[in-house]
Amino acid sequence: MIWQLDIILLLLVVICAAAAITVKNLFSATVLFGAFSFLMCMLWTEMGAVDVAFTEAAVGAGVSTAFFIAAIYQTSRRSKD
């Protein structure tokens, strides 16, 4: 485990999370959330939780983002906040 990498990833995760809830376009938010998930996934690999990371890659970054996009596709992509 490399603590510098760890900190950088953690910072990126926080930035992605903050960005995901701030942007007004829901598609952007979802993509940022996908990035968030992917960074999480890396973070976990880096922490040695390979199974969790694998699941996260399959679910968080993949299926979950697809669900969000599908739902936004069905509803509206604008957001007031």
């Binding site: 939780a49 199974d51 699941t55």
Partner: protein
């Protein structure tokens, strides 16, 4: 100082959790709320995974050479704690399921009210 540095992972998870929590309460857009909820859950998962970490040469929780027939003695310090990982696999699944149901509800709400903004829905209800 020592004590802040030694637990930086926990501090970051707390920040993350606060972001998610804030989004869940403050945001008016239902999808945003849901994103906040996901961030919140993922923060907790980060916390759990952090519990499992062992410094000092521990490796991923898969026994090296385990496919061979011989079983050699293993000491606990060699491998990471697998239990939090297991718990978090379950938590991720729960998170995805919740997200799925929530998205279905959002679609239903959109069908009825034509919007996913909470204040507009409340307006429409009056």
């Amino acid at each position: 100082m020592e004590f802040i540095i030694s637990k930086y992972n926990y501090w970051m998870y707390i920040v993350l959790m606060m972001i998610g929590f804030y989004a869940m309460i403050a945001k008016k857009n239902l999808v945003k709320k849901l994103l906040g909820l996901n961030i919140f859950q993922w923060a907790i998962i980060l916390f759990y995974v952090s519990i499992g970490v062992k410094k000092g040469g521990a490796t991923i929780p898969i026994i090296a050479g385990g496919h061979g027939e011989m079983v050699h003695a293993v000491s606990a310090a060699q491998y990471l704690n697998p239990l939090p990982h297991v718990l978090m696999l379950t938590a991720i699944v729960v998170g995805v399921s919740t997200t799925g149901v929530a998205l279905a509800l959002i679609i239903l709400i959109y069908r009825r009210f034509g919007t996913v903004e909470e204040d507009e829905i409340l307006e429409a209800l009056k």
